[in-house]
Symmetry: C2
Subunit: 519 residues, 2 copies
Amino acid sequence: MSSASKPDYPPLALLSDDRLVALHSAIRDWQLTHGSLIKIGNWDDEDNIRARPIGTSIFPTLFPRSRFEEARQLQKDYNELYAAVAEDDTWLAEVLRDMLVSDPFAKALWSVHLKAKEAGYIQPLTMGIFRSDYMLHQQPVSAIDPSPGLAIKQVEFNTMSCAGGTHASIVNTMHHHLTATGLYTTPPTPPNPIHPSALPTTSTISNLVFALATAHAAYGPPKTALATATAILMPVQPFNINICDERPLEYGLWARAPPIPCHRVDFPTDFLARTTRAETGELLFYPPHSTQPVEVSVAYMRAGYDAGEHDEEGMEARVRIETSRAIKCPSVLGQLAGFKKVQQALAGAGVLERFLLSGNKGRVERIRGTFAPMYPLDETEVGLWARGQARRIETAGRYVLKPSLEGGGHNVYRGDIPEFLERAPEAEWRNWVLMEMIEPPKLRNVLLSAVGVHEGGVVSELGIFGTCIWKKRKGGGAEIVENKQAGWSFKTKADSVDEMSVVKGYGCFDTPCLVEDLL
Amino acid sequence: MSSASKPDYPPLALLSDDRLVALHSAIRDWQLTHGSLIKIGNWDDEDNIRARPIGTSIFPTLFPRSRFEEARQLQKDYNELYAAVAEDDTWLAEVLRDMLVSDPFAKALWSVHLKAKEAGYIQPLTMGIFRSDYMLHQQPVSAIDPSPGLAIKQVEFNTMSCAGGTHASIVNTMHHHLTATGLYTTPPTPPNPIHPSALPTTSTISNLVFALATAHAAYGPPKTALATATAILMPVQPFNINICDERPLEYGLWARAPPIPCHRVDFPTDFLARTTRAETGELLFYPPHSTQPVEVSVAYMRAGYDAGEHDEEGMEARVRIETSRAIKCPSVLGQLAGFKKVQQALAGAGVLERFLLSGNKGRVERIRGTFAPMYPLDETEVGLWARGQARRIETAGRYVLKPSLEGGGHNVYRGDIPEFLERAPEAEWRNWVLMEMIEPPKLRNVLLSAVGVHEGGVVSELGIFGTCIWKKRKGGGAEIVENKQAGWSFKTKADSVDEMSVVKGYGCFDTPCLVEDLL
């Protein structure tokens, strides 16, 4: 098997000082003029607000076209799968059983669910804005696999506060603009893969706006006489540095004809002060400019994804949302479905078949094909075997240890795993999942980020957005009302760095440069 | 006469802490996401690029609708006037005579013109992107004047590198967005003048792009075999902090179908390195990505407006442009037409009639009605009288002393004038123009800028953009090819500050809130 490697990319002619200086300046100015920024500054003093460009790749990074299309085509099945999971609290309770005892965050969210269940869920509709993240993985050539050697493997499936849709769209437009201006143009030979037809486009912003507008419409007119209008409410984190990813969704809603009101509110303190729950269950929001409340149609969560946000106030806020008539994007069960532990449990025998009832066996196989081998660290047979793998320095190098919670960060990599487990109480091991490291192809690019310029080996992550609205079935399960693939984000980091976080400055937004063959 | 003053604006309900905090945050985030920014940071290190929001008003500032319409309607006549001035080098030589001896900048520009004239101008077309700036002036009520007491008076007429068109458009859209979201909504009484129909819109960006595209088309196909394509070239200042005002014009040109190539180049060093003048006069530009030159259709000057830029290299660059076949936006004569001294000379008896040949007497009167009284400081009878006014502390308070050059800044105000003249050599007095201070109405607003929050008295300046393409007539004069009013900018500052500079942080972009009556 030849190692996937493209030492002749980016084309040499593009790496001259002259060209890089011109690209550097064109990219920075595009970012300043298009809100491709991270907010910084003194939060006590809005007069001192500043911004810096978010990380971007100077060139699009190579990616096989067939794998890109595969990831897009999988998304609607993934949406359906996670909608079904989010409606199956019996199964979730079973899968998360250990965590519901030992992990305070899972426990907190579960208690919110139980309260809402006890009160009786009064809104049959739920919404999901999902993002399924993949990396390319070099696997042995197989006579059966049509794309020898390169597969997409799912890194994680995000169900809560999925970010990056706006940034991805802006950087994508930027790479297209740079292509049009000739800044990627090279002499006719050697061939240069960067041309407009190789760069896919994404309309993530308008897709997410459309989905939120659809949910808002599905809610219908106000149900109480206390309000004369409905609005989408976006609980957000205070001191938010990633404002540029959120605000354009709001603007897109207001810009529709007729406008869809969308208000943001800091979670949880301001949320508690500015909302009430009507006796009949409607969530009422009092905007700063009105003594008249609006009735919340959709609670679009861009906060509440960190354990630390769930103190007494945070819990009260979550309960108020969950027990209300508002459509939740997502519900707490939808949020719990994004925990790593669920991703691992879905790989178990017969589990996909449990949730993907309709449809053919093909789609189960296609989804399963994107799973990287993953093991629990519990006391089952396979868990004990995995503990052995993780604790031995000779074998640990093939793995990454991930917390069972959803979201990025906090991972422990390869050689660091044995020592980490040594220090952690054995009772907590079950809160971690052991995952085989994905082995991406060796590719090169030049990255611009807050940590400086990186020219060299890179690794990319393709995120596919999906939007979904479903209805709780009387007898259990989810009836799909809307289901769409909603665009993509593409992030690239130096191969020497383990973390992909764009906000921390390691990851860079990027556009795939689609090629027929990477090997 | 009652003093124009609206102490009940902005409405009290909008000045609560709660509302101001919400507006503050909404404004800052809009600015970050829409490129309403000033670029700052370490210029040697593009990785450390930062940006801060440009100054904006929190509320639209009141402005009489009739005066707003009057300013817009005057613009096409003003365009025609300045096109005619820019084609009359005999008259300009007469008006600028003293300066051509004593002012190095005027002298330098004039020598560029003489060289081009000697070589023979080979491009009959010239372009102007103009901006005429006005302030409201309280004058005695007159039975004849339909708007008792408030007139617009021209502060200056800008012919070179007119900025602010992009910023104005973005802040205008922002004020409309804030109106739509309800952040300016108040209880039904007292009446609140802020509503969508009171806020005019402006499409300055697309208007300027359209004008540049028209000039580009008028140039036609390449004239030399050395180039296969034409492009607009934008000479810019290095280390430009106002990038957000320029780049969107470029993007707008590239985004047209078919795209109009627009390249920027630092003036003068990179300009000299990357351009040549073909033997037949075409200006050829070598982009960083190509060994093949493009032929410059329009040289759109966003540099070359400061005296300091005209060292040996700067002069060589200006001569190369002026002697080339490229359409100049503007020509050096067009630039000289923007000198304050010209504005003052146009107020002389019979001068407007000299240039506005066609058309009725009405338009001459309308233009003259916008002139604030202005006096030379030379040795003519009126000049000697003006010297007396300027040197006495008792009378100087009614005046502002402006350099005869075009552009803002460097003004000497009121009580500072006598001492300033005392120190300046008498021979240089003729390089200044004495202008009666405009006495604007007392209005209030809240401003957000780099120098902090200002809540109190404010003064606004309305800039009307005009675009014009004209052809040199064989026998002299300008034949108008295109003539448009091209949108507006509106800037507001604290009334305690004399300077309007937005880049320095005093001035704030704003939207007029049009009212029928300000008195």
